[in-house]
Symmetry: C2
DNA sequence: CTGAAAGCGCTTACAG
DNA sequence: CTGAAAGCGCTTACAG
């Protein structure tokens, strides 16, 4: 039963040629190496007959390339990351690469550990949604000339490839939409992380208020602690809405904050309508099926994934140093 | 800049010992092998100083173990699979294993290809949500004594480890709930796959009707083609609800069917209430935030993941043949 | 047109 | 208490 896998040696023996010849043939170098058609045919038939697959581990050890790409995100089950994971997998697979993933839960130590682990696995390239404090680790990867693409979060101190969304514009547009429909007390619900893609959203909100001569009111900006339990966030939001009855519009800076927000409203029996408008971040079925439907800032997942993969393979396909690119894609404001 | 990684040889040289000694020390066999404390200390200090990490690829080639577990599902971005992926990753990571994933999109050929690929990567174990027609491939894995755990879908012809949910009981209970609140025309919306976990849901529905002396009406069961576009499904559902105005309850057999169903209702401006009840499959924020809230059959994701991982490691931790287990967990009917 | 041999970085049976 | 050496399964520079 327990059929030991065939090795290149077995094939060579069966075909009565050297393993060199077999290697050339299975690697498509037969013609280049002037192997006779008779030999090629004989070897290929044996390969097919016994179902021989070259041992990738041995190949990796010899070539230094594993055909594996690491995907490091905060949480693979987050719908945004799960979608990216799916699309990236599909695109990489077509090019003969597999994806190995891991979730950092936003811990820099976990990030360090993961990168070391992946290094020792001779992973060929890295797609990373970085945490604050991962700069040295990522820099070390780049020093070793490993293809790296950061996404979602930007690390300003790092000259790295990056694919993300224009969060400033997204929240500027969202806030502008509120202001242009004469909402006067626009709240922003965000998290207390000092990372660029979050602060950008706050800046966009501020600047849009300014453009409409609306005052920036500190107390209308709620910064929810990162990693806080949902129940607690809902409580905080109920508090905010009760305390500031003048609020007539809310922009939520993340998907899950918007979900907590809608839960809070449901709890309070408060309706979303022209006197209380809502825009969520990242679109999803939740928002489409809500009554009324909820407007949302949609990140272009397909384009993000495509860009990530193309940047990775641009590096993988050359030994030269490729100029770093920072790609910022527009989000789409979907009004409902 | 491009610092080549240190090898065991480098460490041995620096420490003035053989690579054998270094190997024993880094593998925790120093005491067992009676290495002197002085040597141990010297080597450990050098290892730490240069940040040496053993090359996993070389180790894999030598030992035949990669410390990688393959996760093969239909679609990693499906929330159910994404949650499982997350939990399995976390649990495996704690035990020193990493997860490599791939989506089959329900194609048996992709499944075959993936398994061959993973074999050549010397993956240590397999967690698979199988497609119909993958029996031989999975059997070949088991013949090679690779730990395998199937989940979500059961393949009756295979004596394999399996973790899943009692779908018969889940839909029996859901239908019973409808019947006991005097709904008379209970529809079932399912897909046209002849896999056990789907047919079980139909059987549960049928048997529950029978128990309440309700007739089984063919035209109240809609079998949506697998892989059909959402828009088309919504149209079909609108058609069903319009044509059969007598329907007063609907059980949806999957998460996405329920979402299509709610979209259809929204489109028709038809409300969910005591005259038209709905139960969805797999719980989620969509159902909690819907107005009114939607009842749902919830699969115990945490328990499923825990059981999968424990079955995998039971096999990984022994060389003996472990008796196969079929674990069927109860779903939870959440009434709202 | 084809092959012998070195070497990728480890682990481990064997020897002393 | 420690080391020399074989070998895991490949690829490739070199030789003929």
């Amino acid at each position: 039963m327990s059929t030991k896998a065939y090795s290149i040696k077995d094939i060579a023996q069966k075909a009565n040629v050297s393993i060199t010849t077999v290697s050339f043939i299975i690697n498509g170098k037969a013609v280049e190496k002037n192997i006779s058609t008779a030999v090629i045919k004989r070897v290929e038939e044996i390969v097919k007959a016994v179902g021989y697959k070259p041992n990738q581990v041995a190949r990796s050890l010899r070539t230094g390339s594993s055909k594996i790409i690491a995907l490091i995100v905060e949480d693979i089950s987050n719908p945004f990351f799960a979608s990216i994971a799916r699309l990236v997998e599909e695109k990489a697979y077509k090019r003969g690469y597999k994806i190995i993933y891991s979730s950092t839960e936003n811990f820099p130590e976990k990030m360090t550990e993961l990168i070391n682990l992946f290094k020792s696995m001779q992973v060929d390239a890295y797609i990373i949604s970085p945490v604050q404090g991962a700069e040295k680790d990522i820099q070390s990867l780049m020093n070793e000339r490993k293809p790296v693409v950061l996404f979602d979060r930007y690390l300003p101190s790092l000259a790295a490839n990056y694919v993300g969304v224009d969060h400033f514009k997204a929240s500027y547009d969202a806030t502008t939409h509120f202001a242009s429909t004469y909402q006067k007390h626009i709240a922003l619900v965000t998290i207390d992380l000092e990372v660029q893609q979050i602060t950008d959203r706050q800046e966009g909100y501020k600047k849009a208020l300014l453009a409409f001569d609306l005052p920036f009111r500190e107390h209308l900006v709620l910064k929810v602690p990162f990693n806080q339990q949902k129940e607690e966030t809902v409580e905080q939001l109920v508090g905010l809405f009760k305390e500031h009855k003048e609020i007539d519009a809310v922009l939520f800076a993340t998907n899950y904050l918007a979900i907590s927000g809608l839960s809070a409203l449901k709890k309070m029996d408060k309706l979303v309508n022209d006197n209380f408008k809502v825009i969520a971040y990242d679109d999803g079925e939740v928002f489409k099926l809500h009554s009324p439907q909820i407007s949302a800032v949609e990140q272009p997942v397909e384009e993000i994934a495509e860009k990530i993969v193309s940047l990775i393979f641009k590096q993988l396909n050359t030994t030269e140093v490729v100029a770093k690119e920072q790609v910022v894609l527009p989000a789409k404001l979907i009004l409902r």
